[in-house]
């Protein structure tokens, strides 16, 4: 992924599920080694944007370039190459339930690299150490708490030393203390690893804490793309409403209303 300029860029990106268009032509750039937070409410299309950036959804039109490959037109082999250089930490962890935490972290290393078993063991221990789960290597995912699952998922996402780390709602469903722990973990990684980090969240405090820049999505459009300071000074009504946690006075559009309840997680 040795590319000059942005490591991820979207150009007039449109994604649709069936007849419903979720992203209405978004364009953005992510620079190497910066931490971008994609902020938005339910139904804003932020999860869809994340899924598109890792190749789980195909755009209906437009382009999404990740490390120099346009995922909209990539072959299966090209997609695999991109995926070996990214790591995604899923909202619910998505650890393989039939494998221990250690085996989960070792999985991509065992399948996709030619490393010796002993080397893999060392790498697994390093990754688990980084997320503070070293003593849980032999636990099954079902024995872990929500926060620990997210940490284990992060260790797995880091296993292949990716150049881009994606986080899907890292603090959703956690109590404030555990959520703060995850935030500080992301901050530590940001300093220690010098990787590009893309975080999708609806948590304001967490977004302002970890982001270099924030992309605000609303109804499938980007309403702001700015540094945290610029965003605080923004006068855009929708952003002010989001920052000040003002509820919608009424649901003006039935389609919007429906979308709130039908968007995929």
């Amino acid at each position: 992924m040795d590319v000059d300029g942005p490591i991820i860029s979207g150009r007039d990106l449109r994604v649709q599920y069936g007849d419903r268009e979720i992203l209405h032509g978004v364009s953005f750039d992510v620079q190497p080694k910066e931490t971008i937070v994609i902020l938005g409410g339910s139904g804003s299309g932020k999860s869809t944007l994340l899924r598109t950036m890792v190749g789980l959804e195909k755009p209906t039109s437009g382009a999404v370039w990740v490390g120099g490959t346009n995922l909209a037109q990539a072959s299966a082999a090209e997609l695999d190459e991109v995926r070996k250089k990214i790591g995604l930490s899923f909202q619910g962890g998505a650890l393989i339930g039939s494998m221990t935490v250690g085996e989960n972290v070792a999985l991509p290393l065992r399948e996709l690299t030619n490393l010796e078993a002993s080397t893999i063991e060392v790498v697994v221990r390093i990754k688990l150490e980084q997320v503070g789960l070293i003593q849980f290597q032999d636990f099954m995912p079902s024995q872990l708490s929500g926060g620990m699952k997210k940490r284990a998922a992060l260790a797995r996402a880091m296993a292949m030393d990716p150049e881009i780390l994606f986080f899907d709602e890292p603090s959703a469903g956690l109590d404030p203390i555990v959520a703060a722990g995850i935030d500080s973990l992301i901050l530590n990684l940001k300093q220690a690893l010098a990787v590009t980090i893309v975080v999708v969240t609806h948590e304001l405090a967490s977004a302002f804490l970890i982001a270099d820049r924030i992309i605000v999505l609303d109804g499938g459009h980007i309403v702001a793309m700015a540094t945290t300071d610029e965003l605080r000074r923004s006068t855009h009504p929708r952003i002010q409403q989001f920052l000040n946690r003002v509820p919608d006075s009424e649901v003006s559009d039935d389609v919007d209303h429906l979308r709130l309840y039908t968007e995929r997680i």
């Binding site: 695999d80 995926r83 998505a94 065992r110 996709l112």
Partner: protein, 270 residues
């Protein structure tokens, strides 16, 4: 409007046929991809074999006790039912032939398939369906580990090996079951019963059963995994997929059985 009354049922039938064919097409496509992954996967071959061996243990070795009991009992039942009719013709000595042929040609493969559907077909759908609901399939995909190569291929390879093995075992147990009646209810000793069985069977009786069992294995793997991948959001969807995997598999296995038996009958009276 008399025309509508003709068109409407036809369109309903046409729609159902189209959906059925599309479903079969989907299953065939899934199996094709799983086969392709067996040869061209980017996954480590040694680990794929390990997974296939693990599946073979679960699908095959784990099913041996229950299949043994069921086919042994069915052997006894077939002997009793056969004797009821044969006795009237004074042909009780044909009981070994009756049991041997009905078990090897039909009941061995069919009962094996139904037990495997209940144990493994349902488990495939539940496992893959749960993984879909918990985003584990997406996780595999984003790690460049293809879910079909990772999950379906080992199951398919294990099934293709284990179904014929289980069927041979089922045949044997069925014959043993028949011998219980042969020894106690007809004038056989255990030795004469077995040699009568051997004389009654042609190689093609066993081969046709094994051919069927391989096709049953394809159907069970294809339908079980397909239903798993088709699972929607939410845990109750997993239950629906599992039910559907069992019902659809049983239906298709019987249908395939019919087709193959007809083909074997037409081609050379086998």
């Amino acid at each position: 409007m008399p025309r509508l009354s003709v068109v409407e049922p036809l369109s309903v039938i046409g729609g159902a046929v189209e959906r059925g064919l599309a479903y079969l097409g989907g299953v065939a496509q899934l199996l094709g991809r799983a086969f392709a992954h067996a040869f061209t996967s980017s996954l480590k071959r040694s680990l794929s074999y390990q997974r296939a061996c693990h599946q073979a243990m679960v699908i095959g070795v784990g099913a041996v006790p229950v299949i043994s009991f069921i086919t042994f009992f069915i052997g006894v039942i077939m002997a009793l039912q056969g004797a009821y009719e044969l006795k009237r013709f004074g042909a009780l000595h044909l009981i070994a032939d009756t049991v041997a042929i009905s078990i090897t040609r039909e009941l061995g493969p069919l009962v094996t398939a139904i037990v495997v559907i209940g144990r493994s077909g349902s488990a495939f759908a539940a496992e893959i369906g749960t993984m879909k609901v918990t985003e584990e399939l997406d996780a595999l995909e984003t790690m460049a580990l293809h879910p079909i190569g990772f999950l379906v291929t080992p199951k398919l390879l294990a099934m293709l090996v284990m179904m014929p093995c289980l069927t041979i075992w089922a045949d044997l147990m069925g014959v043993l079951g028949g011998s219980v009646f042969g020894v106690t209810g007809a004038d056989y000793t255990f030795g004469t019963y077995l040699s009568a069985t051997r004389d009654a069977l042609y190689m093609r009786d066993i081969i046709t059963g094994l051919v069927k069992s391989i096709v049953f294995g394809l159907v069970i793997t294809g339908v079980g995994c397909q239903e798993g991948f088709a699972t929607g959001a939410g845990s109750e969807e997993v239950g629906r997929s599992t039910t559907s995997a069992v019902v659809t598999s049983i239906f298709l296995v019987v249908l395939v059985d019919l087709v193959f038996t007809a083909i074997f009958y037409v081609t050379g009276g086998a």
